[in-house]
Subunit: 459 residues, 2 copies
């Protein structure tokens, strides 16, 4: 099976846990069978691994999600990185070009495309085989997955299909799709369900050649690298609009099980393994839940039906019913992300200050995972003072190597090129100093940091 | 006028803002006429300054409150420090001995003793003159202040007094007190108020000699220093029990105005100048209030009648009605204080971590006020790494001086003696490293840090 997972989105509907760089799929709000906190994307990957162990999996995503994806799924995860964000049609087009050029798939191979973060059961992934079979049997150009609706949601898309008296309950039999209704009013949704309509899961299956032809009709290209260079020329449009709406024949197979989008505090509240994650004491609260990602305790007393969430980005206290309004406020708070997962590890901003002369300081606790490196880079507007609190690292400043260990201080003046390789898991307290502390003040240099100090002359 | 202010208490009824070292009187929850945040003790001092500008004022308190008192009221505030906490009778005894020995007051001088933190109006302090006059007229050994009750509180003490048909409304006329009722049941309180009883404000006036004789009857002493040395021998009992209950004659004068104890979130909610202090966004909340002392934003949406408070110690979210329960939970959370006011300035703990080998780190943002110094000291179980983020300081490590400025790193290894004087307001990020990070790991040395680098040989 060939799977393309779309990992997009960024957003503030789950602020303060989600932010511009930390999309909802990376939040560890679920728990795995060992009781470990698990993100939505980790859950989906473990489910795919169980149901379709021998699949070709690529994740189509943007540069900004590369680090958290590698960090959560392992360095081996195969990513197709969009040079810029341009909606789902260009993203799927690029992934298909990748499958053709880099994975050498033939035009006839079936590709299944899915969002990276549905909250669902194993049966959902088993349905992929039915979709693949339906495409192979040429019953339609495009095969979708319908979900038996659990309730008349006005937030999902619906599909109607040809039903010759047969019931929904033979899910593996493909049906001809007759229409789509996006986000109907509640009464309309009720009616659709009565008439047997299903939710559109956003999973598509097709032959690779089918989509590649559509892409080439818009923008001819020889191979993946060429398409990637010209990525900005692809229409900024959705796969639904560009492909689904114009397909000559569409069929659907069906899944009858739990499936939802955990995109808001309201939906997440039902699926959290415990009413509280992190350091939380709850006393006499009914229907409330809390996530505390700060190191300090949170005490909640006698408050019903609220969500409380704390991260280095901020603190949210909201009635569950009113929680969708968080998005508007999060957008008002135009702050830099205070906690970020990186390919090399993660950091939290633990302190910020501004001084009377306009200078500022930002203090971060950084964790660099064993073997990982911060690439050779330079800042022109800030000095950095590092205090190593745990582990051992190999440091390179302007070409000179040294080992740094717990208890060491390192000063990196603005204009110095520097890189660090964690020889063991490395913890640093970094103090940034400057009048203009901006994550974009970084110049990267092409230089592979050695994996050990062996053979190097260290100061 | 001679005023003794009792500054005691520590407690967790206002957790996470109050803690073992930060008593409620130091919390800046009020605002002064310029809109600046003001603590209860600052408010009381400014009121005393306005009403009784030429008073002798001493504050009887414990060592642990010396730093916040000096920091909030100025270095000149006169403190009588109890060598250990032993209740109000020993504290007042020591203050009286101080007034006799150090201020050379005669036995006949009138002393007014009051708690450091009533939330009241200027008229309250004007009543002191009536109390003084009443003592001078020898109408009683002890003169108290009665407050016209605003409601039938079951939490206050009540006094009854001789009332010869005259009304309460000539407050400056002293009355003979006939009895006390502590914390009556609500119905009893209603009845007391009908009968004309008043709240006992906890303010006492007496001639200095009267109380000194009582103290000497229990423990003879020549002077303040001797009493201080033998402080542990004084009975651990309250002034009410030891003095008031045994007085031959007690009179009261009266104050008819606003007076309350802002000791719980419930009482504070009414007096806060704004429903939100700090970085707080409130959307559709009725009857709720919030205090955010963290640097990150707090967003509250659609939650009524709650208190939300955040500090480096923790986060509280509670219905106002259930908020008294916070005390129990705060006691469960046996954490070190994460934010503390010191004589020299203040610090916040911004990060704590524990590593796989049992080592720990604590990161603090420290602010040392201009001219202030951290005394010559040594830690035997921790190293400290300082990053200077603002200002200029004179540092002394093991006898060697150096100037430190923004951008400098300083390593203070365990066993090093060190002191610092802030030449301008100084900000440091301090990283402590050790397996046992305990505030008590400190040895202080007698050494006056110079006020400038003039004439010193600096490295």
């Amino acid at each position: 099976m060939n799977l393309v997972l779309l990992s997009g989105g960024s957003g503030k509907r789950l602020w303060p846990l989600s932010n511009d760089v930390r999309s909802k799929q990376f939040l560890k709000l679920l728990t795995d069978e060992n009781g470990q906190r698990q993100s939505m994307v980790q859950r989906v990957f473990s489910q795919i691994e169980e149901v379709c162990p021998d699949s070709n999996i690529v994740v189509a995503t943007s540069e900004s999600q590369a680090d958290p994806l590698r960090n959560q799924l392992g360095q081996g995860v195969e990513l197709v990185l969009e040079p810029e964000r341009r909606d789902t049609f260009p993203a799927i087009a690029l992934a298909c070009a990748y499958l053709e050029s880099k994975k050498q798939l033939s035009r006839d191979e079936v590709v299944v495309v899915m969002p990276v973060d549905p909250y669902t059961e194993l049966g959902f992934f088993r349905t992929f085989a039915d979709m693949e079979k339906a495409v192979q049997s040429d019953c339609a150009e495009l095969v979708l997955m319908g979900i038996r609706p659990a309730f008349a949601s006005p937030k999902y898309g619906y599909m109607t299909y040809e039903c010759d008296g047969d019931s929904f309950l033979t899910p593996s039999v493909p049906r001809k799709v007759t229409g789509f209704v996006e986000k109907p009013e509640p009464e309309r949704a009720e009616k659709l369900i009565e008439e047997g309509a299903v939710w559109n899961s956003g999973v598509f299956a097709f032959r690779l050649g089918y989509v590649l032809d559509l892409v080439r009709a818009e923008l001819p290209f020889d191979n993946y690298d060429e398409l990637r260079r010209n990525y900005g020329k692809l229409t900024r449009t959705s796969f639904d609009y560009k492909v689904v709406e114009h397909a000559k024949s569409i069929a659907a197979v069906f899944f009858d099980g739990k499936w939802k989008d955990l995109g808001t505090w309201t939906t997440i509240s039902d699926e959290m393994a415990a009413p509280a994650l992190g350091n939380v004491i709850m006393d006499g609260c009914s229907g409330s839940f809390a996530v505390n990602d700060l190191g300090i305790p949170m005490v909640i007393i006698g408050v019903d039906n609220i969500v409380a969430a704390a991260s280095h980005d901020g603190i949210l206290i909201s009635s569950i019913a009113a929680s969708p309004r968080v998005k508007d406020h999060a957008n008002e708070i135009a702050a830099r992300p205070m906690q970020e997962e990186k390919r090399w590890g993660e950091y939290s901003v633990v302190d910020t200050a501004e001084y009377s002369d306009g200078m500022r300081s930002i203090t971060k606790h950084m964790v660099i995972n064993k073997g990982q490196a911060i690439s050779y880079q330079m800042h022109s507007k800030r000095d950095e003072l590092w205090s190593v609190t745990d582990g051992e690292g190999l440091l390179c400043i302007d070409g000179a190597y040294r080992i740094m260990r717990r208890g060491d201080s390192v000063t990196i003046a603005r204009g110095s090129r520097h890189a660090v390789r964690a020889l063991t898991k490395l913890h640093l307290i970094e103090v940034q100093l400057g009048s203009d502390l901006d994550e974009s003040d970084i110049e990267r240099f092409d230089f592979e940091m050695p994996y050990s100090a062996e053979g190097l002359q260290c100061e």
